[in-house]
Symmetry: D2
Subunit: 370 residues, 4 copies
Amino acid sequence: MAGSTFGKKFKIMTWGESHGKALGVVIDGCPAGLELSEEDIQKYLDLRKPGQNKYSTPRSEDDKVEILSGVFEGKTTGTPISLIVYNKSQRSSDYSEIASYYRPGHADYTFDVKYGFRDYRGGGRSSGRETIGRVAAGAIAIKLLEIFGVKFTTYAKSIGPYEIDMDKFDENNINNDVLRMPDKETSEKAQAYLDKVRADQDSVGGVIECKIDGVYPGLGDPVFDKLDARLSYAIMSIGAIKGIEFGEGFNVANMLGSENNDEFYMNKEVSKFTFDLIKDVSKKTNHSGGVLGGMSDGSQIVFRAAVKPTPSIATPQRTINKNGEDITVSIKGRHDPIIVPRAVVVVEAMAALTILDAMLENMGTTILKP
Amino acid sequence: MAGSTFGKKFKIMTWGESHGKALGVVIDGCPAGLELSEEDIQKYLDLRKPGQNKYSTPRSEDDKVEILSGVFEGKTTGTPISLIVYNKSQRSSDYSEIASYYRPGHADYTFDVKYGFRDYRGGGRSSGRETIGRVAAGAIAIKLLEIFGVKFTTYAKSIGPYEIDMDKFDENNINNDVLRMPDKETSEKAQAYLDKVRADQDSVGGVIECKIDGVYPGLGDPVFDKLDARLSYAIMSIGAIKGIEFGEGFNVANMLGSENNDEFYMNKEVSKFTFDLIKDVSKKTNHSGGVLGGMSDGSQIVFRAAVKPTPSIATPQRTINKNGEDITVSIKGRHDPIIVPRAVVVVEAMAALTILDAMLENMGTTILKP
Amino acid sequence: MAGSTFGKKFKIMTWGESHGKALGVVIDGCPAGLELSEEDIQKYLDLRKPGQNKYSTPRSEDDKVEILSGVFEGKTTGTPISLIVYNKSQRSSDYSEIASYYRPGHADYTFDVKYGFRDYRGGGRSSGRETIGRVAAGAIAIKLLEIFGVKFTTYAKSIGPYEIDMDKFDENNINNDVLRMPDKETSEKAQAYLDKVRADQDSVGGVIECKIDGVYPGLGDPVFDKLDARLSYAIMSIGAIKGIEFGEGFNVANMLGSENNDEFYMNKEVSKFTFDLIKDVSKKTNHSGGVLGGMSDGSQIVFRAAVKPTPSIATPQRTINKNGEDITVSIKGRHDPIIVPRAVVVVEAMAALTILDAMLENMGTTILKP
Amino acid sequence: MAGSTFGKKFKIMTWGESHGKALGVVIDGCPAGLELSEEDIQKYLDLRKPGQNKYSTPRSEDDKVEILSGVFEGKTTGTPISLIVYNKSQRSSDYSEIASYYRPGHADYTFDVKYGFRDYRGGGRSSGRETIGRVAAGAIAIKLLEIFGVKFTTYAKSIGPYEIDMDKFDENNINNDVLRMPDKETSEKAQAYLDKVRADQDSVGGVIECKIDGVYPGLGDPVFDKLDARLSYAIMSIGAIKGIEFGEGFNVANMLGSENNDEFYMNKEVSKFTFDLIKDVSKKTNHSGGVLGGMSDGSQIVFRAAVKPTPSIATPQRTINKNGEDITVSIKGRHDPIIVPRAVVVVEAMAALTILDAMLENMGTTILKP
């Protein structure tokens, strides 16, 4: 039942509905001593906030975060950090109609079955606004991981049929790009495509890719709490994600072992007296996506997640209402024609929460030196 | 650290190494009153045991399971069920060489980094024999779910380039087929392909598909413990799995909302006085794969998992040894040229453990009638 | 690390410091459909709020609770319930001195050792104000348990040397009594005693007793999650509690088996055809305190908790400061001379959270009828 | 439901019934690299095994432990450690009668209510033999804690009316004493008393005291996972324990703040440049029992647990049978007249499991130096 709790050591509990008073998260288990300000969190919330451009919902929200506890004299104290974002623009009238029927592709029906009724205003708890808590907590995880040299690069890899050209990869373009693509040219094509889709009152999906550098090898706990298993759990828990794959991913199904295995080699002169298991070992390729046997292998962690098209579309659709009548509906309101760009930072946040938790879980694993 | 524990209510702890005395699992939280015999478990272990045919390792193991606790007068008592399988064929000599180097595609290196040393005999804890505990526990979950009308159909969907033809789908062929394919014709082609791959001292991957019928709608707990998120965690925790997708999966990236949304309809005459939210509602399509908003939607749950080629191959590969020297190795021993067929029952077991846990977690979610 | 999380199914996370902006709690896993208003929670917070009388700190706080999420149209939705209480009276100047030294009997020293520094304002997270979150969440648990017929009676059993006379037990006196004693006469004697203790700039301890009626037999999960074990964990987690005992408690150490065992008997005519295991069975005595083998036995659950004297006293005490100097201090400020009366509702809240969680955990334990 | 699992990082799952094939425990999360042999575990099991003397059940069991996994080349590997003890002396005939009725003071009734039926042979899972798993796992925890300088001293403080004289405390007497008392004289008096109690076909209770030295300050996680709260949970989960108290315990109820507070002092010359928060700080007294604000304070941890008299007595008692008839019973069989001596090592084991878990949980709590 208690499904809004995530993490074992860096544990978070998110709360809030689309049209409630506020949304937020409590983080229980953040190490003490981290310098933390509201600005550290705000910059990530700004990447997901609505109304940034024509490809996101025009709902007007500042999404200003406030730290209510757990920080003293500019540093985390080790006690729970409570973060809150007040809702400003709850135009419930926009949504009152949807109380009466089940939107295709949405959780209206499953919420009613599970709980007996639902907060239908703007999707309630199933709204994308739920991710505010994820991103706010993730911002802290990212800041803490930076201290240990971990760096995330997350972006839209494809939107509809348009996939980025890796040769034109420009990391700096990501956060400047309305579609969060690292390839400006592809982004422009995708934007033109999106304009057409929007005009057709439709929506489209895409793929988000996340690359994580600097992860110490050995994170992840066999046999169930493998790092890729926990990342999959984290990413698949984001609404609209329908698949995840690591490294070669689904390509492995038609690869040979001799193609897919990554060979190890010594990446420097071995020191005269000791062989440093971490510094001296490298892989020639990274088909594995940075995970071997469920543990980080010291190379870049790479995964991709498939994002479905926004289910809210104005195109007429058949469905049923709460009286059990077959009806036709056209979902009006303030909807994104594409979820991918705003979901990029959510994916990064969930990845960071997972990596940090695995790092904290890993402490005390051995009394031997690796 | 404690990564060998799975589940919240139907909680399992697996243990054992490839060449240790035994392997097993303890199940804590199995409901009392289930009729259970060793045969109920054995039939699933037999589907994964080695030496079944030329496509699985010739290691000779009976894998006979023994129930040590938790069952009295033929029924589960509600207390922990301890299951044990003794190892018979520990030919450690086969594996002694691998103590000295890191096999490409294996967890040798990551185990050494994480724990400081490793049980190198047959891969120790990272061996596929680890899945004995999963399958034994899963067998009990499957039996319990049967009572509630839940049915699993799991099979090899593709091996290398050979994918089954859905028009020739024959469920009865699955367990009779050496490759666990429901399409005899494709299986024969895949077998011919595998013979060639084996002759080349190589290995190949594939895709496993799992379909789950009869799942009550509303299972899964937003926002993190979504049913698809937990299934992803469970399946991705199986060694060699590199990706998972639900329903349309990665296809959604290039689908329109109007294509991907599943329309609802009334699947029968509504009764005069009441509208039964569960019996009367259906979806015209199932692009979602049976999950909406992270909860089962009453239709068939469908997911696919990508399985990498067996990393143990006799083809010479470059790697390093524990002295930090670059070397060439050829992995000899008793290895499967393809993991897929024996992993089918493992996927089914993990899916069952997850569905059962979600069902037990769901109890008490509401004091209202759905 | 994540020590501010409690419960398995009815899971709560509390947050906030004595002199921070606010304190609160998020409840994840509350069943949907419970009618809930702020008033339901406020009445319990009022029982613990400061400034009620001369035996509690004169700090002036309304402690008004606000529901931020999880309730829609007057009913819980099954999603997280976020509750907040803003601090009004943070006179940090009162406490600034204590930043420099370690108060005897307080957590100042242990916080510094554990976290590297501390929020010293009013004790920060170790302040009794932390219990606001417990009481707010407990109020919801109590309301839900009422539906199932569970009733709590909690009170001060003794204060200093004054113990209530069970023959003069008057339940109605409890919440009207400044000391929360059910025996007016003893309360008056204790008040006179407290006046003297206060005049001496000292403090005193006491014993809280909690009786729980209407608990269904069979709650609690052998062997570790016994109901009394979980209640002990819950109650001992309240600051200032130094001991807990059930039924005869420490008396059992010098009792004979023939004295301590509770004999069973049939408490009514057995129906002609069936013997109702729950309705028909009673115990002649209740030395066990309502728990047998770690499970509720259908009789009243009874436990007592020992509360230490308030450590903040104006009496001069020796201690050390942060420079490592031996000093003498006299703790000024707004302190309760006795913790017991305000802790009564905290004990009740924690007991309710535990019983409710055990009840939810118990669902699905058996597929047989008891 | 899953009540046989204990610990967060050093997680254990125990299993087995009194008259089943075997009992055991799996430890998931033991740090790698600990030297471990069966003998390390056996010496603790020998302290609890039956038939040691006339004060314990004459049931004849060797209780020989076997390590089945998780240890390689004499060291723990970081993977689950499975330990098994086979039952030898299952004289089920002794117990067959009790299938039909509910023994006073036992869990027969509550098991039937909870699970619908029970394994009645020797009490099944509610038998004291259940503690084999606790002691076996605890032995590993004790060994690991020794490396960090933690030492346990656990003993019978009182049996019936006989309490040890602290002036005659002789630690070496504990394990040589049939009653596990550190005071030979009091033990002899208690033995004479027990002989009389046994002749009367009765049983008696007592108090176990546990002292833990060398615990690093700062262990335990406010606000719920306080060290004393977690120890209480662990100890109260042992069958027959009815109360627990720390330091002054229930005495605090009638102490003044000025009596109960422990003053801090500098226990050595402060070094010229730095003040070592851990080495330099001491308390003049230890009324707190080594815990302040729920965290270890660097002084000795002291707690006492009240043990009820063995419920199995031959003295005739009234009860009911499964047909709902009032009957008189006399419990025959192989029972201890006193639980205390054999429970001493169980208390120590549970304390060690808790301290070790708190130590592992504490890692990563701060990025600041204490």
